[in-house]
Symmetry: C2
């Protein structure tokens, strides 16, 4: 994997760049649609390419490991071949899901024992086998096995959790270095900064992660319930420490505002289920603000969802029709809203790239934060 910075914003830490993978290039800053179980919910693969203009999508190791399982994924030749998405892919480590199983998992130094949410069967994730699993799934970018420290966490727990994440990272790096991709293309491993909302822990973690000299770095454990200001403060602190010449991925973030502020703080990659999950509930992100399509006021608004965007869904379908579909629980409603919201997120980062390139990012960002967070 290669990363080149193309433009730097003069007033903020924002930058544009290009990540090169064996499955194609990614222009940053970028938002990555989440394809939990090998499918971005309600969205066809060609819609990701043609309408949403996604450049990289995510898969979830926990879900894919349980279903369809490694045997089938390996037989298929990896997730790209299995689901037909031929661009860059990133998988999380499964850590976030297994830790959140609560009653059904036990953490030891070795790893996490857990029971499947599907059939109650017992499984064990360790830093080593999570590397092996992600080798088999075959994503271009794979993530270290960490604990996404919950919020709030007291200082002692946050410290212990971070230190275990660091010890696990060493094991991940060793296993990753001792193995190879299974399908003839390169994979790269991103380590993850933890440390909850404690500045000294975040600093310590960022320094440790930086010292690992991997090809890209991630920030985890944010956007988990803490105030947005705290998230920005931690991000700002961390991006001052992480190497400037490597891509930085802020995991699980966020709202359009979070993304714009993250870009200003030097973040290059984002992912979040919000655009698709909220779509299914009838919440639309648009270039003119947020719409609850279930509201009475849209019932006879026959204008397109958002003509400022390029895709089919945003231009072909009207607000009144989408409102009808969502209220009638028609699947097409979730489909249209999902394509639309993802189109909006990809449009937003594309606009940000343009504004960084032209040197107008800072003022545009402030105006855009205001505009896109307004309720229409």
């Amino acid at each position: 994997m290669k990363f080149n910075i193309i433009h730097k914003d003069p007033k903020t830490k924002a930058r544009t760049g290009r990540v090169e993978t064996d499955h194609g290039d990614i222009l940053t800053p970028i938002f990555m649609p989440v394809g939990t179980a090998g499918s971005v919910k309600a969205v066809h693969q060609r819609e990701l390419v043609d309408d949403i203009q996604a450049q990289i999508i995510l898969g979830n190791t926990y879900h894919l490991y349980l279903r369809p399982g490694l045997e089938i994924l390996e037989k298929a030749g990896g997730l790209h071949k299995f689901n037909g998405w031929s661009g860059p892919l990133l998988t999380d480590s499964g850590g976030f899901q297994v830790f959140s199983l609560e009653e059904n998992r036990k953490i030891t130094e070795e790893g996490v024992m857990f029971r499947s949410h599907i059939d109650g069967s017992k499984h064990h994730f360790t830093p080593e086998n999570v590397m092996d699993i992600q080798r088999i799934i075959g994503a271009d970018i794979i993530m270290a096995f960490d604990e996404c420290t919950p919020y709030p966490a007291d200082y002692d727990y946050a410290k212990q959790s971070m230190e275990r994440t660091h010890r696990w990272l060493n094991r991940c790096i060793n296993r990753f270095g001792a193995t190879q991709g299974k399908y003839g293309y390169n994979q790269t491993l991103f380590p993850i900064v933890q440390g909850s909302v404690y500045k000294d822990l975040r600093k310590q973690s960022a320094e440790f992660i930086a010292s690992c000299e991997m090809e890209g770095n991630a920030i985890g454990g944010l956007s988990v319930g803490e105030p947005a200001e705290v998230m920005y403060e931690m991000t700002d602190l961390i991006t001052d420490i992480l190497p400037i010449d490597k891509p930085r991925y802020l995991m699980g973030v966020g709202t359009p505002t979070n993304i714009l502020e993250g870009i200003a703080l030097g973040i290059d990659m984002f992912d979040c289920v919000m655009p698709t999950r909220n779509a299914r509930n009838g919440m639309l992100f648009t270039s003119e603000g947020i719409i609850n399509i279930r509201n009475e006021k849209w019932k006879d608004d026959f204008s397109p969802l958002d003509p400022a965007l390029a895709g089919y869904a945003s231009n072909f379908y009207s607000k009144a029709y989408l409102r009808h579909l969502i209220i009638s629980k028609e699947m097409l409603g979730a489909q249209i809203a999902s394509i639309h919201n993802l189109s909006f997120y990809l449009w937003l980062v594309a606009e940000a790239r343009e504004k960084i390139a032209s040197g107008d990012f800072s003022a545009w960002k402030d105006a855009m934060v205001k505009k896109t967070s307004m309720r229409r």
Copy 2:
């Protein structure tokens, strides 16, 4: 509306033809995807055109009347404008749905009082207002308000029900003739043959319907639980009576076999929820037979769903991937299977048209019935 017969099969009553409407032509025999509440479930409008190659779709008056309601449909300029389907449209009369409400409806000579399944509100359908409602929805082909006589029905009930349907038809024709389309294009009214499984009633009904001299005719009250042989016997009897130079629509039918046999008996138009409903349960119709995609045997079959068909879904996605999606209850599974099954139905009638044109229909039909009804 115009109808021209293009080819006649020498050995059966099958024929090909062209129905001309103000929203475009329909080549017959044709299958019409069902768009219950203004959406063919899980299918985008452009997929109906590009992948499925649908020529005409259905809407359900009962559902559309309740949601989004007539005020919005009229403001939109009719259903075509509302949902963006610009080809020919057919609406049923709502009779089938309101009669099936059972506990929540009361039938009188005047019409049917019923309660909405959505909010319990009270409504009244009469032959007259059902014509007005379908004028507002704005379908190209609208259906008479009838009772789809349930099966089994004793002779006396079947006769009374048929006679009421005939009296209601006179009222439909009067109202239809006294009103005009609301959006500047023509609408046409199809009457419906009833009479349950009684030959003399079916004969009497078909003669009455034929005497109305409408532009097309429909057969209702079949495929409601009676043996397939009885359905074919009734259809055969009726198509001998209905005028040869008008399109004939066999309502709510059916399996691929039912459609092929119906074509042989001189039917031109079909509709059924089976391809979409069964798709959502993982049952696929293919050119090589029927697949239950949930079966273990497909788990590592990475071949496309059905390369004999032209559309995206049937060629791009593999059986193993679709199996995974259906088992994981991912919406994309229902989407893929729905496009695929509708593509198959449209492929089947297109093949039938070709075989009728080339004079090879009869032998092809027998082989195809065998092939497409086999479980793979």
